[in-house]
Structure formats: C-alpha cells, structure tokens
C-alpha cells in the first residue's frame, strides 16, 4: 500500500469503485446482464413513440418525430432517475462509510455518472434502430449535445443532493420530489416544443432548465430544427448555480448527517 495519495486520487478511485459496484449490483444477476440496462428504457421510449405517432402527433420542421420524442423522453428520464436515485444513494450505501476513502457525496456522483452513461446509451440505441429502419438521423452538433447532457447531469445531481440533505433533516422531503417530477413531464416539452406554445405563455415555461436542455439537445440532433427560446447559457447558469447551492449545503451538513 502506498501512502500519500492525493485527495483527488482518493475521490477518483472511490467513484470508480462505486460505479463498477453499482453496475454489477443492478445488472449482474440477470442472464442477459447488462443488456437489460438498455432493453428496459429503450422499450419504454419505443412504446411512447409508437403511441404518439399513432395518435397522429404534429410534426416539426427540421427534425423527425421519433427523434424529437426520443430526445424528450430520454432527457426527462435522465433528470428524474438521477435526482430520485441521489436521494437514496447515501442511505443505500451507508454500510460503506466504514471504508474511509468513501464519502457520502461519492455515492451520489457514482450513481449520476452511471445514469448518464446508461441514458446516452439508450439515446444512441434508439437513434440507431430508427436509422436501421430507414429513418432520418443526423447528428448535427455533437459537442453541444455532449455539453447539454453534462449540464443536465450536473443539474439533476444538484437537485438530488439538495433533496437528499433536506430528507436528512425533514424525512417528508423525499415525498415532495416525486410530486414535482410528475407535472414536469408535462411542462418540460417532452412531447411538444416552444414553437407550438403561444408567445404569451412562454414566461410560464421559460424558467424550467429541463425544457431548455431538451430543446437544445433536439437542435443538436437535427438538420435545422431551431430551439426557439432555449439558451445554453441559461441552462449552464442554472445547473452550476443549483450544484453550487447543493454543495454549500452539503459542506455545511456533512459532519451533521446521520450516516448510520
């Protein structure tokens, strides 16, 4: 054993070890193993796409409808999965705090990274299938797409950490997040776009960074779909702002938390 390992190296190792453990625990027990990580969410998204397409949902210029909807559902799922799982991350891993290198926040980060990898995989499998069946798939702006999803991950983790700490103080807080999540599905543009919303109602929706993320990701995956009203700067400010607040809160609470 070597001593004098730097703080950053300890954190990197802890997160990597937790990440691998989480994958193993969640998918290792099945015959099809890691395939389930993708099969489940992919089939969910496919069902939603089929239903909406059958209902004759309106098309948008510059982007095909399955891509439009796929991006919406995957992004919304990424947000809810990360924030919901973050709340439970510490509690579920509390026995691991006996191992010195692991700090509570590491368990949250490891889970968030796993969700990001899974959902990126889901998105590309869906795009891949659609392309195989002759669909029109373009990756117009890969750097922006990556950046948007990183920011969305930061935002969701920040929200999750915040509610995790709140739950530690008031246990009812964990019931509040799902209450917020459900309406978000309908007001975050999962299945519609700013384009179709009358301008008068924009202020009611524009505050929502998730809406911005979804529209920006669509723009990056289209020929010439325009993310009207959405702003990468606003998404970045929101994500980093929420994360900073969560981290300050965490620093204040870390020593007071009930680890066991």
């Amino acid at each position: 054993m070597k001593s004098g390992r730097s703080g950053l190296e300890v954190i990197r190792r802890a997160i990597l070890a937790l990440f691998l453990r989480e994958i193993r625990t969640r998918f290792g027990k099945y015959q099809l193993g890691y395939a389930w990580a993708l099969i489940e969410p992919v089939s969910l998204v496919v069902v939603i796409i089929v239903i909406f397409s059958a209902m004759g949902a309106p098309g948008y210029t510059g982007i095909s409808f399955p891509v439009f909807l796929g991006v919406g559902v995957v992004s919304y799922n990424l947000f809810t999965e990360i924030s919901n799982r973050s709340i439970k991350a510490m509690e579920a891993n509390s026995a691991l705090f006996n191992y010195r290198p692991i700090r509570p926040i590491d368990t949250v980060i490891a889970r968030a990274l796993l969700e990001l990898v899974l959902h990126a995989g889901v998105l590309f499998v869906i795009l891949g299938f659609y392309w195989l069946f002759g669909g029109d798939v373009v990756i117009g702006d890969m750097p922006t797409l990556i950046f948007v999803y990183l920011l969305l991950t930061v935002l969701s983790t920040g929200v999750g950490v915040f509610f995790m700490l709140l739950t530690d103080i008031y246990s009812d807080a964990e019931k509040v997040l799902p209450l917020i999540m459900r309406p978000l599905f309908f007001i975050s543009g999962v299945f519609f776009s700013f384009e179709r919303v009358p301008r008068d109602y924009w202020p009611l929706l524009l505050w929502n960074p998730l809406f911005h993320a979804i529209e920006l990701a669509r723009e990056a995956l289209s020929h010439n779909f325009r993310a009207q009203g959405a702003s990468l700067v606003y998404l970045a400010l929101c994500s980093i702002g929420v994360m900073c607040i969560a981290l300050f809160f965490y620093r204040w609470r870390e020593t007071k938390m009930r680890l066991r």
Binding site: R21, R100, I102
Partner: protein, 219 residues
C-alpha cells in the same frame, strides 16, 4: 500516530440530546495496542467509528496521517447479491493499487478457504463463511492500525486459531491495535495500554491489570 483532541459526540434521540463522548483527549502512538473497556453504551463503538472515519465529531478533531483499517471482520459492507470475489475487488479498488488487486484476491481466497463459494453471492453464505471472507479481507492489507470491535469469534476453533496467528503476525510487523472487547485475554495479548470509558469520562492506564480491575469492579 493517532490523536484525538477535545473530541465530543452527541446524538439526537427522541428523548433529547445524548452525549456519548465529552471532551476526550487521547494519543495512540504508532505500533501501540490500546484496549478500550467500558460498559455497554459507554461509547466504545462510537470511539472506534470516529477513529475509523465512519462517524464525524461534533467538537474537537482527529489528527492522523496513518492508514487505519475498517473494523476488522466487518461484513456489513458486503453487497449480498455480489460474490465474495466482487465484494473483495470493490474494497481492493479503494485501498490498493490496480496491479495489487489480483494478489489481494488470492490472499483473501486462500485465507477464507471456502472453495467455490468464493464465486457465489454472499447472501448464500453462512455467518461463519461471511466472517471468513471479511476477516481475510482485513488481513489482506497492511494497515498501520487495526480496529477491532468485539470480534465475536465465529467459526470453528481451527479458523479462530488462524485469525489469531494472522493478527499476531500483523503485530509483529509493527501494526497498532485499537481493541474493544469484553474478552480480557484478547486485551492482555494485544494491548499495552488501556482506557476505561464511563459516564465520568475517560481514564487512562498503562498497567493493564489495574485497568481490568477497575473496569470489573465498576461492572
């Protein structure tokens, strides 16, 4: 070296605040064996958890640059759906360099000596098998200090003997020990000094027999 400076720890309970440790000062030199005696609820496990980093202090601080083990034989960190190999790998990733991981896996497998169970989910293990793996895991690393919190000796006499030898080897290599036990033989063998925890605070003894006497008289 491990030093506790003015450490206090209070728990919130439904009956109000409960102070377990109050303004505690303690220094444990490298290679020392410290026995911690006290009645149930005196704060022995809290003290071990603070030294091990599993609990934080309310006041004061813990000063150390030593490698300190998790409580020896701790199996609570095992994920039941994973095999012993996977669980061991997880801990090895935290504490060892990448190229040392195969060696650690071998050490634990040899020590545990549970055959093909090593590659089966730990939820299928008997408590004896569980402690074989978890004890082997603690012994696979060279820590500066080992935390021992009531190793309730499970397993057959042969295995207990094996554990004993492994701990003595660590001691011979110069490792320190912090031992919580109601078994005075273990305290006598591993400790060079003893603290007795009680509601009056902490009393430090260099004479182990004297400490045992005080502890047993106060029951």
């Amino acid at each position: 070296m491990i030093r506790l400076e003015g450490v206090s720890k209070t728990y919130r309970t439904q009956a109000g605040l409960h102070t377990v440790l109050r303004n505690l000062n303690l220094e444990i030199p490298a290679g020392a064996g410290l026995g911690v005696l006290g009645r149930n609820g005196a704060g022995k496990t809290t003290l071990i958890n603070i030294i091990g980093g599993a609990e934080t202090v309310d006041q004061g601080r813990l000063v150390t640059d030593a490698h300190i083990s998790w409580p020896v034989g701790l199996a609570g960190g095992f994920q039941p759906s994973l095999t012993a190999r996977e669980n061991v790998k997880f801990v090895a990733r935290l504490y060892a360099e990448k190229e040392e991981i195969p060696m650690i896996l071998n050490r634990v497998r040899d020590f545990a000596d549970i055959g093909e169970y090593f590659d089966m989910p730990t939820r299928t293990y008997s408590s004896g098998m569980n402690s074989r793996v978890s004890f082997g895991l603690s012994m696979a690393f060279d820590f500066d200090y080992y935390l021992i919190d009531e190793v309730t000796a499970v397993g057959d006499p042969q295995f207990r003997n094996k554990c004993d030898i492994a701990l003595m080897e660590k001691k011979a290599k110069g490792a320190g020990f912090i031992v919580v036990s109601h078994d005075m033989d273990i305290v006598r063998r591993f400790c060079t000094q003893v603290v007795v925890l009680s509601s009056q605070g902490l009393r430090h003894f260099d004479d182990i027999e004297e400490a045992i006497k005080v502890y047993q008289n106060n029951g």
